[in-house]
Symmetry: C2
Subunit: 552 residues, 2 copies
Amino acid sequence: MARDPKLSLIPLGGLGEIGKNMMAVRFGENILVIDCGLMFPEEEMLGIDIVIPDITYLLDNRELVRGIVLTHGHEDHIGALPYVLRQLNVPVYGTRLTLGLLQGKLKERNVDAALNSVKPRDIVQIGPFRVEFIKVSHSIPDAVAIAVHTPVGVIIYTGDFKFDQTPVDGQVTDFHRLAQLGDKGVLVLLSDSTNAEIPGYTLSERMVGNTFDETFRQATERIIIATFASNVHRLQQAIQVAHRQNRKVAVVGRSMVNVVSVAYELGYLHIPENTMVELDEANRLPRHKVVILTTGSQGEPMSALTRIALSDHKQVDIVPGDTVIISATPIPGNEKVVARIIDQLFKQGAYVIYESASSIHVSGHPCQEDLKMMINLVRPKFFVPVHGEYRMLIKHAELAKEVGVLPGNVFVAENGQVLEFTRRAGRINGKVTAGKVLVDGLGVGDVGNIVLRDRKQLSQDGILIVVVTINREAGLIVAGPDIVSRGFVYVRESEELLEEARIKVRNALDICTERGVSEWSAIKSQVREVLGKFLYEKTRRRPMILPIIMEV
Amino acid sequence: MARDPKLSLIPLGGLGEIGKNMMAVRFGENILVIDCGLMFPEEEMLGIDIVIPDITYLLDNRELVRGIVLTHGHEDHIGALPYVLRQLNVPVYGTRLTLGLLQGKLKERNVDAALNSVKPRDIVQIGPFRVEFIKVSHSIPDAVAIAVHTPVGVIIYTGDFKFDQTPVDGQVTDFHRLAQLGDKGVLVLLSDSTNAEIPGYTLSERMVGNTFDETFRQATERIIIATFASNVHRLQQAIQVAHRQNRKVAVVGRSMVNVVSVAYELGYLHIPENTMVELDEANRLPRHKVVILTTGSQGEPMSALTRIALSDHKQVDIVPGDTVIISATPIPGNEKVVARIIDQLFKQGAYVIYESASSIHVSGHPCQEDLKMMINLVRPKFFVPVHGEYRMLIKHAELAKEVGVLPGNVFVAENGQVLEFTRRAGRINGKVTAGKVLVDGLGVGDVGNIVLRDRKQLSQDGILIVVVTINREAGLIVAGPDIVSRGFVYVRESEELLEEARIKVRNALDICTERGVSEWSAIKSQVREVLGKFLYEKTRRRPMILPIIMEV
């Protein structure tokens, strides 16, 4: 009797974190990759622009990788592709809007790729995998869950989803197909844990439209709406309400302009005639006839809303009586910067609507009751919570057990762990390389822990550079020691301190000379020690100390 | 007829910000100061330890300052005193616990001060001011509002407060006195805006006790509770529940140990016999017999809870099955670090209770309905929202208008603005110096914008130092140029880049020599420009470039 065939699921990102979602599905000598997202840097990753998954495992097995399938067009699901496709040029599959958004990113970075467009209910054969795309609701149109039919069983990967019973485009989640698959038997469900900590149900996007309607009615001057550029359904609702209330709409912010144009061209955004205007035209209209859609709902420093709030935008200003709607909740970590934007807008006399309590935003992710519903529909044998920080995965795992998945069949895994399944059994079996690759400017992976540790120290107490020129043969200091500091103290008020420090260094060097210490490394560490101690006593600070010895 | 006498209120901190609360009350040649708090640094204040108010105005009028009165013992109301009293030694008035906590801080920093203990309903004559202390509930015992009886009228400054109908110590807010004063006529009310954005009522501290009770019942192993050290009533409830359920209590964390001892000695904390144990004794008891109270509910890096979560605490470890209760909500800005602690605790197998939904924490500040109640009780002629960021002040001002304060009598002010009142009228009349003084180690005010801007740049892309030794007479480079970098790239993998950079610099220097450029500043700016451009092209990063020229 042959051994039971085995299927491996290997998360390369998105477990224990929010972002850089990526999952490898391996059967024999074939690997299918689902999603390829980026993550925004954590606070301690100083100077880093974005974070992408470490794909060493895929590069080590490059001849096995059959393709990458995408669930939707958000950065945390497609944003690493411009980097990954350069190293691993395989076919990519996704829905039209997803590929439309991806194309722009690839073009910007001159990356070529074979993009294959799919529709919900399409089934594509990729190596030994029959890959099926299943319509789900989310905060971007054209989102799909993915079912992978393998010789071992069916895997369902939800991607990001919500159950919206009244979606703006009228196309509800394909409950029927999920139910059908659940009925036939699903081996593993991998489901979105983003909101696993939140009780209840996620509200319909339609709610926000109602709030827009009310708010627009009460607004007497200009309305500015900040939201996520990719939330096409929300833009759609804003445009419709504006049209009904005889306001013209202008769009501000590069990514917003881009998404509106892609979504409009592909037919995902419907614009009533004579509704959209250019910004300069909008500026000539009476203020109560205008709605401006803009980016910057997360307080991004260079975004249109931030510049508007700081009176720093060339074309858009705030006049007392304007209404600003921030139709988003701050992503964890952005709370303070968003609050500051709101304060600034209030100071300029705007009426700012921002509370989550005001139904001005709804989540694109499923809450606890929705998550249970998904598990009940699909009735998987095994369950793996994905897309979430550790505590969210834990909560989601608890929910799965509550609705009847056997406790031993629920796996809370980490990036890189190999989840191995047969038709009957599942286990965690080993680990592959997985982790974070930091992107800083053009550098991909050239900033590591040492550089970050240095940036941290520099950021806290600055740096003192001690330069001295030595004539080695004569054993003489011929210039210096000079001390230059940056980020340590305000120099003009600390001349005395720095002069004292210079004398300390001079003495340390003299002692080295007297004792015949001539190893540069020994001299440097002596300078570091003497100066570090002196400065800590005087200031209770620990700047980086960098001795540089020049030899003539 | 004499001119109407005038009273000025001058906020020196706490308006447009959370923290460093400080208010000057001036009548003629007399100044009374209410509170003297610190603030924790904003994210962009790299390396800063704390922020205190700029008291230039008080120092310029030092002979007029009659005393400082305190509302309660939280850092944002007393934390700047050790710094301020050094420059301005005036009598301080506060309740027993407030002074008890202050005393420790003053002793630590060797500051002497005349501390005068008061009780609720006490009236103290300070210069021309009759200062009355009025009991309020808050998340620390012995909190008071302050009524200042002046020749112009009565000012009421609420301090931080909540309306707790069932306070743990049984002593409710002195509604009667507030009502009495309101009945007689109050000129100005200054009230706490911290929760002005939150609808409804703040729940009683007693709620948390009930949650402790339930949670303790369900816990099978050790219980660890992290909360604010100063929340003595919460500690009291934890101790009582532990006692009832036959668990012993140990305290971990320097500030928690300190508060427990001060509060116990002063009689604010009641400890049943045989309830408290030392930590090493707790470690010898069965796990289900132990409760540990600890600091670190805000994810502070050096706190006990953080070290416990990272398995880095010498005496306390987590064993699967332990219960950890985080009885606090993260202060804005701390969300991510607290989330990470929770993740770590889950990874160690603890059952972590942390949601605000779980009634494991209630606020110490009044929500919108409580705020309206305060205004209705006091019925002030003029209203000034204090203690809050700008949008909170705006909301609070709206609430005041809703309950009938005349719109023209509500003042949303900024730190330093002079609010001038007669018996009949109020207006903003001028501005005095006010602002932030940054404390970094032993340095008070020696880190300013230039230093912070340097730290920011250093933190983002690091630094390159270019050193060259020149024989000026001969016009020759005798050593270097050498390039040393920190926080820029991982040097070993970028040797080529740095060597190329060195050649660029060498060429730039040669050109200077050829052209007879001998001004050091011109040479330096040439090096900065050439190198900066080269590095940006190659890496899209802008490190700080620091040319140092040595002369022999």
